[in-house]
């Protein structure tokens, strides 16, 4: 028995443009529901992308916090807090949540943005023509209160910990999709190694912001629609049994286990493909299976040509030609590109599929639902700098 066997991933919480639970996302994908939102400001701000997959900014009542919490948080921190709340609703009904044994592992994006509001930039323009001293004075007046805290990308962790009383081991990673799976792997290991009794694991997308566009452009963005959202789940120590399939239903709903993982790095095209291929093989080996033991593959959002190509080539190497490989489908049609939250949203979606014995298959036109032939799912992350990660999830009772 490996030490991962005793850890269960459960309590999925998912907040995307498709809704506030995994079932809504599943249904939206199968129904081909248009979950995008045409936004007037966004249409102007994102050339060629009038639609994005936005979510409402959670208010204080939705988050269950005092409104002053909103002053020390940005939208992405609030999305994360809401995702955590969705995940912890179930566990808080069945038992106490929080305390020294509850840790927190987060994948957090960074949005390279202006500290001053756009409306204050007219003053900046005039001040810039005047003197540096005028600019400094403008900053003194116009920098939003608490921005010194709210712009720290760890703010999400602080608010989640404070709201739910988490005081266990923690880590926060940034900024690309591999950060979400790093949080997953390290969160599970923290429970497996006894550092935490439970770990809240989550990731959040960047808030969609006009200045995200040039940042994505610079990274080789293909034009895929951006999305907002958060994905969370909880890693908990399960019954100490030798086989995952013998585990009784988890109190917080369906559960899966992280059966294997692999990480790697490839700086450019061929290296990236090799790194991803090796990461998948490592994850399969750790899971004690091979390519035939995978029932469904959820690749990372294909938002760069290099990443898309590397994933395609790696899947070819691992699974052979397209006709012989397991179903491949992700959530992008209904969520847009979610950055660090994308692979973790896929983990939540996989948990839903493993619990119900179903998978999603994408034929390029539509997404259809099929029986899951093997109770194992592969989820990939392909970070923008070449960091890759692959995880194998396995059913562990439902």
């Amino acid at each position: 028995m490996t030490n991962l066997d005793a850890v269960r991933l459960t309590a999925p919480g998912l907040y995307t443009a498709a809704g506030a639970d995994p079932a809504s996302l599943w249904e939206a994908l199968v129904a081909g529901k248009d979950t995008g939102r045409s936004d007037e400001l966004l249409a102007e701000a994102w050339p060629g992308a009038g639609t994005a997959f936005l979510v409402d900014d959670p208010d204080a009542a939705t988050l269950g916090v005092h409104r002053r919490v909103l002053r020390t948080s940005e939208k992405q921190a609030r999305m994360a807090l809401y995702g955590a709340r969705l995940a912890l609703t179930g566990p808080s009904v069945t038992g106490p949540v929080g305390g020294e044994g509850w840790g927190l592992y987060l994948g957090l994006p960074t949005v390279d943005e202006q500290l001053l509001r756009f409306s204050a930039l007219d003053g900046l323009r005039r001040a810039a023509d005047d003197s540096p001293g005028a600019v400094a004075a403008l900053y003194g007046r116009e920098v939003p209160p608490f921005s010194g805290l709210s712009h720290l990308n760890s703010t999400a962790a602080a608010h989640i910990s404070a709201v739910f009383g988490l005081t266990g081991a923690m880590a926060a990673y940034s900024p690309f999709s591999d950060a979400g799976l790093s949080a997953l792997v390290d969160g599970v290991l923290s429970v497996a190694e006894g550092e935490n009794e439970a770990a809240v694991i989550g990731a959040v997308s960047p808030k969609v912001h006009p200045l995200l566009f040039p940042q994505y452009e610079e990274l080789g963005w293909t034009g895929a629609a951006p999305g907002e959202g958060a994905a969370f789940l909880v890693a908990r120590r399960g019954p100490d049994v030798p086989g995952a399939r013998d585990v009784p239903a988890a109190p917080d709903g369906p559960a899966v286990r992280l059966a294997g993982y692999g990480r790697g790095f490839g700086a450019d095209g061929a290296d990236l493909t090799s790194a991803l291929t090796e990461a998948v093989h490592a994850a399969l080996a750790m899971a004690g299976t091979d390519a035939a033991g995978i029932g469904w593959v959820l690749p990372d959002a294909g938002w760069t040509a290099a990443g898309e190509q590397a994933q395609r080539a790696a899947l070819d190497r691992v699974f052979g030609p397209a006709g012989a490989r397991p179903a491949v489908a992700g959530a992008e049609r209904a969520t847009g590109v979610l950055g660090p939250a994308h692979p973790l949203a896929h983990v939540v979606l996989a948990l839903h599929g493993l619990a119900t014995g179903r998978l999603l298959a994408d034929d390029g036109e539509t997404v259809r639902e099929e029986p899951l032939p093997v109770s194992r799912v592969l989820v990939l992350a392909c970070g923008a700098r070449g960091q890759v990660c692959a995880v194998v999830l396995e059913g562990a009772g439902s």
Binding site: N3, E44, L149, A158, S161, A162, A275, R385
Partner: protein, 434 residues
């Protein structure tokens, strides 16, 4: 790829290389000597002073030093932004000093970097301002991009993980790449995470540290806005950061980078490396108080310290030096002093405590890494650095042995604390090589 972490494995983790840049100093020993003599890195920021910035004081990198470091980055590692260039110097120095080959070329090596995000500065925003509809408060992005938009390499330069990836690629140590974003505790947490990976047997070698370059107008204005920075008042720049002193009034922001090479002892000894110290314990925990302060009774910080001791199988009696987080804010130092009283009891008055931020300012994500490097040197030299500007304790800080002049004393095991905004806390324990 990573092999599975075997349950129960516990490889000893040692330090075999250190590197650092701070102020105008570009190696750890020079910094240690500078601080040992009671000198500071904190000075007026000439541009901020000229512009009338309320807190025009910082522990910034000397501009000439910064230029030379940026020019020294090898072409294959470019582009690196302000923090990345500092990280490169510190990491490359630590790697070279460790005696490891130029490239590890092993999946059993990793890079763990701590760095917080940057925000756009005025010169960049001025270009944006020409394309904003001020009534609508919206940006005409098409026009902005048509006019040239931002520096096309800007995003890559300022994203914290660019340096992580470049370092991993350059040194052939890409088994695990982590870019930590745990506020002011991130440096310690990056080292702690690397320690865990080596201890578990997943990695043999890790390059772990932090880098920060936030002595900018935007960052200073933001931290000033929440009252976290020490107001200049009538004091000289060198007197502003005063950890544990009753007249402390805020922190002084700083820049810098620091890295350690960590290895399993078996790996280090097999190649005949010089072992500088060992990592003897670590805890990185979150807390549940609030965004701007921790428990005033120090209980959250005490929990973190005790967790690190437990991790290393140590007791409070094993610690003979504390390298404090010591930001010089009223709240942090109160909480940390209370925690030290709680953990060490009556013995606290006999444990020398140093607050390096009194001379180096607070370089946020880098601070824990820089303080870890200085702790290694304290172990090496059997000397404890002074805390500048500590003249009189308050009710809570009373009873601590705050070191005010370099002290030569037996140092076997150092507790190095880092406590971040919002309650991301870590304690790292470094011990003599053995």
């Amino acid at each position: 790829m990573n092999p599975h972490i075997p349950a129960g494995a516990g490889h000893e983790v040692v330090v075999t290389g250190i590197g650092l840049v701070a102020g105008r100093l570009t190696d750890p020993e020079a910094l240690f000597d500078h601080l040992a003599q009671g000198n500071t890195l904190i000075a007026e920021h000439p541009l901020h002073k000229e512009w009338g910035v309320p807190c025009a004081v910082s522990a910034h990198i000397d501009p000439a030093v910064r230029r030379s470091l940026e020019e020294a980055v090898p072409p294959e590692a470019r582009p690196l932004g302000p923090a990345g260039a500092l990280a490169w110097h510190a990491a490359a120095q630590a790697w070279e000093r460790s005696g490891l080959p130029r490239r590890l070329d092993s999946e059993r090596g990793g890079v763990f970097l701590a760095c917080n995000r940057m925000v756009m500065e005025p010169a960049e925003l001025a270009g944006l301002a020409d394309h904003v509809d001020f009534e609508a408060g919206a940006l005409d992005l098409d026009a902005y991009l048509d006019a040239g938009g931002p520096d096309p390499r800007r995003h890559e330069r300022v994203q914290p993980d660019t340096a992580t990836a470049r370092l991993a690629d350059y040194f052939g140590a890409a088994g695990v790449l982590e870019t930590h974003a745990d506020a002011c505790a991130a440096g310690g947490m990056a080292i702690g995470s690397a320690y865990r990976y080596i201890r578990s047997g997943t990695l043999d070698v890790a390059l772990a540290g932090g880098a920060e370059s936030l002595t900018t107008l935007a960052s200073v204005a933001a931290f000033y806005g929440i009252g976290a920075l020490a107001p200049a008042g009538d004091r000289d720049a060198a007197e502003l950061s005063r950890p544990f002193d009753k007249d402390r009034s805020g922190f002084v922001i700083g820049d810098g980078a620091a890295f350690l090479v960590l290895e399993s002892r078996a790996h280090a000894e097999a190649r005949g490396a010089r072992v500088l110290a060992r990592v003897a314990g670590y805890a990185g925990v979150t807390e549940a108080v609030k965004m701007t302060s921790s428990s005033r009774d120090g209980s959250d910080y005490a929990t973190c310290i005790r967790a690190a001791l437990a991790d290393g199988g140590l007791t409070p009696d094993d610690i003979d030096h504390v390298n404090a987080h010591g930001t010089s804010t009223e709240a942090n130092d109160t909480c940390e002093a209370a925690a030290l009283h709680t953990v060490f009891g009556e013995r606290v008055g006999r444990i020398p405590v140093t607050g390096n931020k009194s001379a180096m300012g607070h370089s946020l994500a880098n601070s824990g890494a820089a303080e870890a490097v200085l702790s290694v040197l304290s172990l090496q030299r059997q000397a404890v650095l002074p805390t500048l500007n500590f003249h009189e304790p308050d009710e809570v800080t009373r009873g601590l042995d705050i070191v005010t002049e370099q002290r030569h004393t037996p140092v076997t095991t150092v507790l190095s604390n880092s406590f971040g905004f919002g309650g991301q806390n870590c304690s790292l324990i470094l011990a003599q090589a053995g």
